[in-house]
Symmetry: D2
């Protein structure tokens, strides 16, 4: 993970692309790449989405990589440790979504309180 | 990173949420969380996006964590190693965007060929 | 439709919000609102998405309205007539997706050529 | 507007595409198209986004048309009148964002109350 951060810093620096990499712009690039993943799934049934042909899977892998790249770039610009942040959030989620209460139900935690 | 994957598998299993986690649905959740990051930046100037107040930064950190969580979930469901995929993509990008050619220009590689 | 355009111009002017409404920012707001629609559907089956409870439908209606509002704002800023543009695109789609060839298949037109 | 709704119904019917057009899938297509607009703006400054070259503008016009098409399709499937919904929302916004209070400030209405 630290390697990835370093590689991406160098990649941007060598190309003088840091000027484009404001958090605002990186957030835009991130949502664009996330939507490119969605595009692959938009007309599929849920079953089809679970057994993709190899060539589709390769294309989606490349889009997932793009999301990971921009997410890492954005977190780095904001001084955020991606793995750390994810772990903190999971701890919070464990409290907001206690297993006994939410089992088998997909609601937002604000909706369980209703 | 492997810890994160394991934690997320357990988290979903304990809540019987695997039934909701088709790749199609996870792709949707991913773009939703990515857009929640964008929401924080939509009315800011690029300069403002570079020096966020602490409370905003905390909120954005939580959204970034959500993207990381769903991205990890999705990659795991598809049997994709997130770090591996990112590294492969960077190698490809180095070829598609040779520093000497693209320095200081933000174009898609297909546009450099025009 | 023209009324909507006029109303939105006035709304922004009265609030001195035109300064925030660059096409770049409006595009961000648009994708954010589109993702808020997606959020309502992310854990639903396709069948469930076809028979929504009334309160969900009301919430989604409000999100759809938000997308329409930002889309109208964006098109207006760029001097684009929304209905005109949609009609032109449908004509193009009729050529790219001839009914006899694509019936019952959901592919991008570039994929039919493969 | 009613013409557009009718045209789109026919377009889908002739291609037997209604089977793909669940609200869930249409919401996905909508966010994908919205993100394609964002892609055009992601590396531009706000000033650049206000004075686009003609060829870029044409490309963006086609993406805006796509958003309008899927938005109309989605609203139609849910029995929502797009213009009506937008007008209702504007009335609500007028109450949530009184001009005297929000002039020149870009906040969510929930934030004005803080």
């Amino acid at each position: 993970m630290e390697n990835l951060v370093k590689e991406l810093r160098e990649f941007a620096k060598e190309r003088d692309w840091e000027q484009f990499h404001s958090p605002k712009n990186l957030a835009m690039a991130l949502v664009v790449e996330a939507a490119e993943i969605v595009e692959h799934f938009q007309w599929l049934t849920q079953e089809q989405s679970k057994s993709l042909p190899t060539d589709k899977l390769e294309e989606i892998k490349a889009e997932i990589a793009d999301v990971m790249i921009f997410l890492t770039n954005l977190a780095d610009k904001l001084g955020i440790d991606l793995l750390e942040a994810a772990k903190e959030k999971i701890e919070k989620n464990k409290k907001n979504y206690p297993a006994a209460k939410v089992r088998g139900k997909a609601l937002k935690y604000t909706e369980y309180k209703r």
